[in-house]
């Protein structure tokens, strides 16, 4: 516990340093202190995952009334590991990235507070401590979204969406905890003991309320609307933390409360979780393919991955209740491994998006291109990140998706029909999002980094500073190791997934370097597969050089008879995704406007032609807009009460008093 507390302390010191140091000497020391704090947390979490012993800490000094209770078990440690892993990179990145808004006193302090809460939330072991860190996490990230608002005016609207959604979620979580804590006591161990005595209905209501809050933080459809606004609007290191660590906190909450505090409950809870997952995976995957803003694409793909994780968590819960404990364990391990792998590659991709924005001044894929020539390191990071999320065998996304699929496949043996249906939907969603993700990320790499520059900004780009490159390489490298030798993590993963459940003797994974299911038929060896790929590629490369014995000659690309081809003739991100957008037009509801201005002399000739194509979030437009409009209408109506007449105000005050007296 000492090391973990030291980590929290270091983050707090970093926050103080950010708030107190003078502008010129602020960024580097603060960021390095934060990185040190995260490294300490990483080590502490790893130690707990290796030994499997939970540690606890209580002090009455920090929070009033109840004091602060912390307890770190393997499940919590897994999520601390995830946060700290990205946190290190975000801090190192900050050294080269922080300027203007983000380098201000408030922003630097809030960044470190945000880090602190990300590391602290999975350890909180009482309702008060949990809600304290949870709300601090929401507030600090809210302020960070606004850090760059002078350059990103859309940040204001994003912050309002985020603020409202996150506080509704927090209220819902608090209500849920109140239902469970009705019998008195507020520490998690009290709640766990009381929940066994609760009626199934009360437990179900409590779980639904808490699920609502956590699912909105995790960005599950239809509670996701804030995510594709807030994540892109935040400065890139903050986006990286939000997308890979903060989203994971929502998943953590669902697992902690559902499996640990409420002991699993009924099958329908997990059916709901899985359905949220299926909806998120498909909806996020589809929108990622049509997004042209780099960070918006990444944000939607986060929703997609969260969906897969929730499918795993839901399947694990449902299968656990259907008597397939060992299969449930595999699904849970898949979900947890995906959380960690996603933190690595999505963190790296968001940092790379920031690097691209810094170098070119835009995040619009339709204006990028050709960055592989000027930004080779960033391009490599993006290629590996895209490969991981596309689940290219041997990269980190693959091992986790494989585990997840194994959990689902063997879950077909479940006896309960709802469980089998959920598992089937999970497999279908996993398969479909695999294809959609490939389109989205081939588009990101191919349009953004290959080909020719589509704007002057992209043509003049140059590689970003050392610290930013180091941060991206750290996340990418660690991700590659996780993908190649997932066996290293198996023991830790096993402990984390078993938290809150009785251990099943038949479960699990044997491990050399790859993954081998014990008791079920299935195995993968990513390192050996990579070996095979490398051997073939080297052989082919050598033969290619030897057989030809000639240097490569550069020629013009074939232009259909044209002498010169301009970068404008290339496919753009919009045109690349157009066929798929057309296929899924019923879901995406794309809107296209064509405006034709005719020449004055004859309407058979056009003077100018404007075409606009946009894809809006259907859930937002159809689900949220009417509610918001309704509330605004009521608000405007209420304005009529306020006509400036003091008599009316006095009468209203009197009426209100009467109502209160009568009701009370």
């Amino acid at each position: 516990m000492g090391l973990y507390l030291a980590a929290l302390g270091l983050c707090a010191v970093a926050a103080a340093a950010g708030a107190l140091l003078p502008r010129r000497r602020r960024v580097t020391p603060t960021a390095l202190l934060g990185a040190l704090g995260c490294l300490a947390a990483l080590t502490a979490a790893l130690r707990i995952l290796v030994t499997g012993d939970a540690v606890t800490f209580h002090t009455a000094q920090v929070l009033p009334l109840t004091g602060l209770s912390l307890s770190l078990d393997p499940l919590g440690a897994w999520f601390v590991l995830t946060s700290a892993f990205v946190g290190v990179a975000a801090c190192v990145y900050l050294v080269g990235y922080a300027r203007e808004g983000l380098a201000s006193r408030t922003a630097m302090a809030m960044f470190m507070v945000f880090l602190l809460t990300l590391v602290a939330v999975p350890a909180a072991s009482s309702v008060m401590s949990f809600m304290f860190f949870w709300e601090l996490m929401a507030l600090s990230s809210l302020l960070l979204i606004l850090a760059d608002q002078s350059r990103h005016p859309e940040a204001r609207s994003a912050a309002i969406w985020y603020g409202v959604m996150t506080h509704l979620g927090a209220a819902s979580i608090l209500l849920g905890f109140l239902v469970v804590a009705a019998g008195g006591g507020q520490s998690f161990s009290d709640l766990s003991a009381q929940s066994s005595a609760m009626s199934p209905l009360a437990r179900g209501i409590a779980f639904l309320l808490i699920l609502l809050g956590f699912a909105s933080k995790a960005g599950a459809v239809p509670l996701h609307v804030w995510l594709p606004k807030a994540h892109p609007a935040a400065p890139s290191p903050v986006s990286a933390l939000m997308s890979s660590a903060m989203v994971a906190m929502g998943v953590y909450g669902i697992i902690r409360v559902g499996r640990d505090l409420l002991h699993g409950g009924s099958v329908w809870w997990w059916v709901v979780v899985s359905l949220l997952g299926v909806a998120s995976a498909l909806y996020g995957g589809l929108h990622a393919t049509t997004s042209t803003d780099v960070k918006r694409l990444l944000a939607y793909s986060t929703i997609d991955v969260v969906g897969l994780v929730l499918i795993g968590v839901g399947a694990a819960g449902a299968l656990g209740d259907s008597g397939l404990g060992s299969v449930a364990h595999v699904a849970m391990m898949g979900a947890l491994l995906l959380v960690l792998a996603h933190a690595g590659f999505k963190g790296a991709l968001f940092l790379a998006a920031g690097a691209v924005e810094r170098a070119t001044g835009t995040r619009d894929l339709d204006l990028l291109g050709g960055l592989i020539h000027s930004m080779p390191v960033t391009t490599l990071v993006v290629v590996v990140g895209a490969g991981s999320i596309m689940a290219v065998p041997t990269l980190s996304g693959f091992s986790s998706e494989w585990l997840l699929l194994q959990g689902l496949l063997h879950g077909f043996g479940a006896a309960s029909t709802p469980t089998v249906i959920v598992v089937l939907l999970g497999v279908v969603a996993l398969a479909l999002t695999g294809g959609l993700t490939a389109v989205a990320f081939v588009k990101l790499v191919g349009i953004g980094f290959l080909g020719r520059a589509r704007s002057p900004g992209a043509a003049k780009a140059s590689e970003v500073s050392m610290s930013m490159r180091v941060a991206m390489i750290w996340l990418t490298g660690a991700g590659v190791v996780i993908g190649l030798v997932p066996g290293l993590l198996v023991a830790a993963l096993d402990r984390a997934a078993a938290t809150g459940r009785a251990r099943d003797a038949a479960t699990g994974l044997a491990h050399g370097t790859g993954l081998v299911l014990t008791g079920l038929h299935g195995a993968i060896a990513p390192a050996a597969l990579l070996g095979g790929l490398v051997v073939v590629m080297v052989l082919v490369g050598v033969l290619n050089q030897r057989a030809t014995q000639r240097r490569v000659r550069r020629v013009e690309a074939w232009g259909c008879g044209r002498d010169e081809q301009t970068p404008r003739m290339q496919y753009t991100a919009t045109s690349f995704a157009e066929p798929l957008q057309r296929v899924f037009a019923d879901v995406l509801r794309p809107q296209a406007d064509i405006e034709v201005t005719h020449v004055a002399e004859s309407r058979y000739y056009e003077q100018s032609l404007a075409y606009e194509n946009r894809v809006v979030d259907v859930v937002e437009a159809r689900g949220y807009r009417p509610i918001i409009d309704g509330v605004l209408r009521v608000g405007r109506g209420a304005r009529r009460l306020q006509n400036g007449s003091i008599h009316r105000y006095l009468a209203l005050g009197f009426l209100a008093l009467l109502v209160v007296l009568v009701v009370a």
Partner: protein, 318 residues
């Protein structure tokens, strides 16, 4: 080194060699069948192999604005296909790394190859490359899920998604072959195979018509040895998919014993089975017209629905 190891090594080597030569031969055979049924003599069956040989000796040309990706993409296409061929149950159920020959590995190896081809197309920065990449990825995004789900349907009965496991289980239970779930999955797989190998009605491999070409548009900028690599990769992919269809549904003849004779028999049976699949696909090609690009999703969605139905049927019959 144990005998099992050497048997596995031999099986892997044979599979790679057989598919490397067999893939182009199957392509040649299909064009021959098409030519004959149209009343032409057609090129000899070995023509694709001769083309490859000719291309290898040519000069290496790269487009002016291309990066390293253009040179790397054909290598990745070939490598991902070769690894998939090496570990799949084609000639034998026990080649090297066959314990890793999970359906997810094979599907995502194929997807890696498609992604590499698309990136190679986008790298040159021309309209054609982008067009081909966009269309190919759209089709891949709809076809590969169907492939995955169709094999999942097979894995319900055999309780594993490991391909050699599925093949061995089918050998042990011949009565599974005519089950409704299997037939539905076979239908889905055939659609996937036609889409993935770019045959009519999805794509026409023998045309370079700008408005309709899909796969050829991506490889337009390749020349000489790189074109040979990409073409060989695609031919091997065709060989792999045909062999998988054959072996997952009619696994008989595949080598399960540790003997050289069984390997020889395995090669012969594989050649026979894939020839039948190729003849079938060629007949479909002869008898159908190429679909418009925006009608394709209907066909592919049909394939996906078939595969999901196969899973549902499998679950009901369980």
């Amino acid at each position: 080194m144990s005998a099992d190891f050497w048997y596995g090594a031999l099986a892997t080597l044979i599979q790679v060699v057989v598919v490397a030569f067999g893939g182009p031969l199957l392509v040649g055979l299909m064009s021959k069948v098409k030519a004959r049924s149209e009343g032409r003599v057609g090129a000899p069956v070995t023509q694709p192999l001769r083309d490859l040989w000719k291309l290898v000796a040519k000069e290496r040309l790269h487009a002016r604005h291309a990066s390293v990706v253009l040179g790397l993409a054909p290598t990745v296409i070939l490598a991902s296909t070769v690894v998939a061929v090496a570990i799949s149950p084609l000639v034998s159920t026990r080649p090297w790394l066959s314990s890793s020959a999970d359906i997810l590995v094979i599907v995502y190896l194929l997807l890696t190859g498609s992604a590499a081809a698309a990136l190679g197309g986008l790298d040159v920065g021309t309209a054609f490359g982008g067009m081909g990449a966009s269309r190919a990825m759209t089709i891949g995004a709809l076809a590969e899920p169907a492939l995955l789900v169709a094999v999942v349907a097979l894995s319900i009965q055999s309780k594993t998604s490991n391909l050699p496991g599925i093949v061995s289980a089918t050998l042990a239970h011949p009565d599974w072959v005519l089950g409704p779930s299997r037939l539905l999955a076979l239908g889905a797989l055939l659609i996937v195979v036609i889409a993935e190998t770019g045959r009519i009605p999805v794509d026409n491999p023998s045309t370079h018509l700008e408005l309709t070409m899909i796969h050829e548009a991506m490889t337009l900028e390749y020349a000489g040895p790189e074109l040979a690599l990409a073409t060989l990769g695609e031919a091997m992919r065709l060989g792999l998919l045909f062999s998988l269809v054959a072996n997952l549904f009619l696994p008989w003849g595949i080598s399960t014993q540790r003997s050289v004779m069984s390997l020889v028999a395995g090669v012969a049976f594989l050649a026979l089975k894939t020839t039948f699949v190729a003849l079938g696909v060629a007949l479909i090609e002869v008898r159908s017209a190429k679909l418009r690009l925006f009608r394709l999703p209907e066909l592919l969605a049909g394939g996906f629905v078939l595969s999901v139905l196969a899973v549902v049927t499998g679950l009901v019959a369980r």
